[in-house]
Subunit: 212 residues, 2 copies
DNA sequence: CGGACTATTGAAGACGTTCAAGGTATGTGG
DNA sequence: CCACATACCTTGAACGTCTTCAATAGTCCG
C-alpha cells in the first residue's frame, strides 16, 4: 500500500476501523496525521479494552518507533484519516542546537501519558471525563482546530469509556452530570466549553500556564 | 555503556524521602541508579497520590530529560540510593548504527508506562498487584538482582497502593488473597514467586518471550 | 522504653458495574 | 421514499468491588 512513492509529500488515507499499524509488526514508516483521529489500544483476553493514546491532526504516529522496537499495540483510525509518512529514522537527528519539533512531540506524548496514569489511578469518573474533554480541546486549540470555545468531538461514548477506564453506561451518566453542571455542552459530535477554568478545576489537573 | 566508564564516575547518595528532583526545577543532570529504589509521583490537591514511575538499579532517572523540558513531577528516594550522574544531553547521540542503550531504556520506560495505563484503567485489584510484583521481579532479574525465584521488595503497602491506584487497606487484603492462592510469598521485604507462569496469568499481562 | 510508622481486621457505605430494555440516529437497498 | 439493519444513546434496578472509618497489633529505631 505504501509502496507508491509520490512526488510531493507521500500521503495515505484510512477509513474508520482501518489499522495504521498492527501489533508486533515492524513499522515501515512514521505517520503524521494531517486530518482525522486515530488511537492506540490494548485488548485483554476477555475483551476489556484500554485506549492508551489518541492521535490528533499534527501528531506523529508513533514517535516512539524512532527509538527502535516494534509497536506493542495496534493503531486504528477512529474517523477518516489523512496522513503523511516518512521513514522510521528520526527526522534530522538531534545535536543541532535545541531538540527538534519531533523530539519535543515525543516529550509531549510521554508527559500526556504520565498525566493519564494519574487520572486512571486516582480520579473519579467525573474528573476523568472532564480531563479527557479538556485535553482534547486544548490540543485541538494548539493546532488551530478550535473555534472559540468549541471543537469537534467525534468519539462515541464507548470510545470515551475505553479511554477513561469506565463503562459506556457510566460515561453516559457522567456526561449528563457534566452537562447538568454547565461544564460542557456536547451534542452532534461537537463540544463547547463555556468556562475553561471551571472545567479545569473539575478535572483536577494542574493549572497550565495559558488561560486565554 | 555508561556503567563502564573507566575513571571514577561522579556519585551521589540519597536517603529515603530525599528528593532527586523537584517539580518544575530545571534538571542539572540525569542520574543512573546504582543501588536502591526511587519513584516519581504526582500529588493532587486533596492528598491523593499516584506514583507514575519506579526507578530500580540500572535505570536512568529520568531519560525523558534528554528530550528537553522540566520534570513535571518530583522524584524521591524510597530506600537508600546510590547514583551516578552525567549532563542532560543525550550520551553519545544516536546515528552510530543501532540506537544506544540509553534510548532503548527510554523506549522501555514508555512501553512500561503504556502497560500501566492498561492496568490502571482496566484491571482488578488482584491483577494490579500481581502486575506490580511481576514487573518488579522481572526487572530485577534482568539486572541480575533476582536470586532464583526471589528478589527484594522494599515497598510498603501504602506505596504499593499509590502505584496501583488502590487504598492501603485493599492492598493488604489483596496481598492476602495472592498469598492464599499460593501466587506469591511476601514477608520481611522479600518476595518469592513460586510459579511465574501462574502469576503472569493472574496479572493478565501479555506473555513475554522469556519464560525461564 | 517510647514514639512513629506499618500491617491487619471489621463493619458500613459509596461509586461504578452489570444486565436488560427501550429509544434515537444513521445509512443502505428496494 | 420507505423499510430495515446497525450502531449509538439513554434509563432503571440490583449487585459487587473497593473505599472509608475506626480500632488494634506489630515492627523498627532512636
Amino acid at each position: 500500500m505504501l509502496s507508491q512513492v509520490a512526488f510531493k509529500e507521500p500521503q495515505v488515507h484510512f477509513r474508520p476501523h482501518q489499522f495504521l499499524a498492527r501489533e508486533d509488526e515492524e513499522p515501515a514508516v512514521i505517520f503524521q496525521i494531517d486530518e482525522g483521529w486515530a488511537c492506540r489500544y490494548r485488548l485483554l483476553s476477555d475483551g476489556r479494552r484500554q485506549i492508551t493514546a489518541l492521535y490528533l491532526p499534527g501528531d506523529y504516529c508513533d514517535p516512539q518507533w524512532a527509538l527502535g522496537g516494534k509497536p506493542s499495540q495496534p493503531i486504528v483510525a477512529l474517523t477518516n484519516v489523512r496522513a503523511s509518512y516518512f521513514p522510521c529514522s528520526p527526522p534530522a537527528a538531534s545535536g543541532t542546537g535545541g531538540p527538534s519539533a519531533f523530539w519535543l512531540s515525543l516529550s509531549d506524548m510521554i508527559e500526556r501519558q504520565t498525566n493519564w496514569m494519574v487520572t486512571l489511578g486516582r480520579k473519579t469518573a467525573l474528573e476523568r471525563v472532564a480531563h479527557l474533554l479538556l485535553d482534547l480541546f486544548e490540543r485541538l486549540r494548539r493546532s488551530g482546530l478550535a473555534y472559540g470555545q468549541q471543537c469537534a468531538m467525534p468519539l462515541t461514548q464507548t470510545e470515551i469509556a475505553d479511554m477513561t477506564g469506565l463503562t459506556p453506561v457510566h460515561v453516559n451518566r457522567t456526561l449528563q452530570l457534566l452537562r447538568a453542571r454547565g461544564l460542557v455542552e456536547l451534542q452532534a459530535k461537537w463540544l463547547r466549553i463555556p468556562d475553561l477554568r471551571a472545567l479545569r478545576q473539575a478535572a483536577a489537573v494542574r493549572n497550565q500556564g495559558a488561560t486565554a
